[in-house]
Subunit: 346 residues, 3 copies
């Protein structure tokens, strides 16, 4: 372990302890909520780093599988605790919000920072375009039960069945397409592992346990905190949970664009959106069958429309093969508008 | 005629006779329905083969016109008989379903089979992109009356007039663009005619008469059969009628992709979707003026939305100029979701 | 001033006088309406010419700013007078109609004329694609308050706030992106000024004052004229006002395509749509705060859907990098269908 690794571990530990103190001391919910959000972002970073270490050790294929599974761990915990508390809308908004945050906000920031630093950036890898296409297709599948509901199709009366069919199709597609993505995963590898396997597993285990606890505190503080701040549950899920849960991909994506590696930046950012659509969402739909309240894919209509719009726009900006900071600025502007549309509660 | 031609003719004759026997013996509707569907698919293949023979004889331009007209013959007959029986929803779903089946399911299967066999396929012809663009534009025109209706625009009170305007615009566009497509039709020609003109005309006549009869039996069995199977009328039209009526293009498109001719495969598949939108649908709208119930372009909203989504996604996957089997798999997944959304009846 | 300049000035003066005579003589509203529309189109042309003269004098950067501001002057006047008369729907339809007319009708005519004259046209400039992308993004932002309203999101109860947020985001984006566009504005420059600065300013002043008066007469005649013609207020705004107000860009765009300069034609046409979305619309939204009736961005739903569809289709036809007259014809067909959908009043 390098000095920097130790510092990061230390920061994570401190943030978790602070979050714990806030939770058990019954601090103002807003403060606990923010503390827990920070701790989750740091734990997500730790998990990300540890799975990368695993990557150098296990070969990029196996690492890819592990990364897919573990990279979404904090979001998974939050979703499960929120489901347990019946916060269906928060979970739905957080899932859709992860896709939108990645494919509009983070992509926009990457274009903005990359464009200001490096001028017009050109990217042309088949991988970036392919991931954008797959994300758009997966988002369309995710949105279908809502469309059936919103437009009063007879299928609206069978929303649970239709949601399970969509979730099933998505998970089958994830399993089928996983090998293809792994084959293209060379980008990620290269760095020799700095940690021993024991250290890596210990960090992963500790971060996982920490994430579970902090997620619980986060969800407990969420409802009173959002009420105190005047934001809706949908906004809390769409913006706060989504950004906290994807903090790592967000930072990495923007950094890569700043370093003038636009193809890689786009792959990382959109791949994160794709995994939420193909893996995390269906897993949570199926998991919810064991909870009191089932999570269906019938979202508030505007949420599904926003998802479709975000996915289509992602393909649009990726397909033209060039990014400018103007494009980035207007993507960020679009994100502000989408987020603002969900600020108000019912 | 080759031995293979004779075998095909024989199979078609047997299938028509079987369908006739089932119909007149009052067999279980499900069985009659399936028998008639098979016979229609085989007759569509015969008509396709015969018009190709005509092509070698008349020059590709005239053949193109004939093919446009005759290639859609079985679908036309089914639509007219279904209209006569007042099965408006089946006809609407079958028309939209033809576009969706071609541009999502068949394209997906072509990508899947082509990708598994040949790896990533690249296609770049202007023709493929142009047909995808035109299909998206035509689908948008087709969807407009439904959008006006669904969003309570004042035009909703004039749905018949608006539908006729849209149908008129589409048919004018078909007539205008036909020459351009014929000029590009060299792809199709090449094969010297194996049949005499008399044989060709006789086969076409017999297949046409057969298609008319079998369509009648098919439509008669459709309602009780779908009820027995628990599927909605919309599903019967969208999936069963659309796939049976486009069987030829479906098989040919997938075969071409398997033989690593992706440009040609895409042209054939999407061109079939385009003809349904530009020619068959407006013809049936105008024809319906002579029936008791007029067919308008006000579809169930989800049907029009599915059409728009399918058309947009077709352009998306064609524009990136590359196809992989993963893209194909997720297109097939999307088709499963669209079809499932229409399984349930009102 | 050349002889031709003087003739144009004379025609403009005559048209303004004719419009005045019609207005003050209480001629039939339809006649006054058409007379004023003609005068507005001619004044728009004058303002366009004068700002170009300014361009040769001030350098393309400053000229770009002036052009953005003054080029939309006639539309601004009409919108303000119409707002004053409470014709909210006309103003909304005229703004959306400017975007749709440019990106569907005029682009279609440019493709049609360019294709018939020059065959398939290829265009590849980053500028054309970038403007199309930005227009699609801006149109999406514009459409969001309507989407929130149409799909009964809680934000629907805060439509004024949400509209102001969207308008604010758009105006910030305009200010941010203006320099980038100016840098690319070399296309416009080149012609040495033929008018003295005094003449230019005098023409601009006279044309501006004329535009203000004629806009008033136009708006006064609008309601009775549209009633007499049987067209809805939405149609009057979407088609008549939008085409009269954008007459210059329309003619210039089609001329450039005819002269086989498709890249430049597309930039001019879509740039005009982009300026309406990024500058004119938010300015009018903020200006309306000083009027009795506030203009929100909650349009009739079909209007916002048409805007989204038009923007998406613009990107589609620009991204494929090629235009044919068939593509142009079908774009014009789509415009006919969109316009027809708004013919009928509530």
């Amino acid at each position: 372990m390098t000095r920097r690794d130790l510092i990061e571990l230390g920061i994570a530990a401190v943030l978790v302890l602070v979050a714990a103190a806030l939770h058990y001391a019954h601090a103002a919910p807003v403060v606990t909520f923010l503390g827990a959000a920070l701790a989750i972002a740091m734990l997500a970073r730790l998990v990300g780093g540890a799975t990368e270490q695993l990557g150098g050790r296990l070969g990029s294929s196996v690492a890819g599988v592990v990364q897919s599974g573990l990279g979404n761990l904090p979001e998974l915990f939050i979703a499960l605790f929120a489901l347990h508390d019946g916060l269906i809308l928060v979970v739905q908004a957080a899932l859709v919000g992860s896709v939108i945050a990645n494919s509009v906000l983070v992509l926009g920031l990457a274009f903005l920072v990359g464009g200001v630093r490096n001028g017009t950036q050109r990217f042309s890898s088949m991988r970036a375009r392919m991931i954008a296409t797959l994300t758009t297709l997966a988002a369309t599948i995710l949105a279908f039960p809502t469309l059936a509901h919103a437009f009063h199709s007879p299928a609206a009366a069978h929303e649970k069945s239709l949601s399970l069919i969509c979730a099933g199709v998505l998970i089958v597609l994830f399993v089928l397409t996983l090998p293809g993505f792994l084959a293209g995963g060379d980008d990620h590898a290269g760095a020799a592992p700095r940690w021993s396997l024991a250290t890596t597993v210990a960090v992963l285990g500790a971060a996982g346990v920490g994430a579970a606890f902090v997620s619980d505190w986060f969800v407990t503080a969420l409802k009173p905190a959002t009420e105190a701040l005047g934001m809706s549950e949908a906004f809390a899920g769409l913006v706060v949970v989504a950004i906290a849960g994807n903090a790592v991909e967000n930072v990495v994506g923007v950094q890569l664009a700043a370093r003038n590696r636009p193809d890689f930046a786009i792959s990382v950012v959109i791949n994160s959106a794709l995994q939420v659509a193909l893996l995390l969402t269906p897993v949570i739909v199926f998991a919810s069958l064991f909870f009191a309240t089932t999570l269906t894919l019938v979202f508030p209509t505007l949420l599904a429309i926003s998802l479709l719009v975000a996915a289509a726009i992602t393909s649009l900006v990726v397909y033209d093969g060039e990014s400018t900071w103007e494009e980035g600025a207007i993507l960020v502007g679009l994100y502000v508008v989408i987020a603002a549309s969900f600020w108000w509660g019912a």
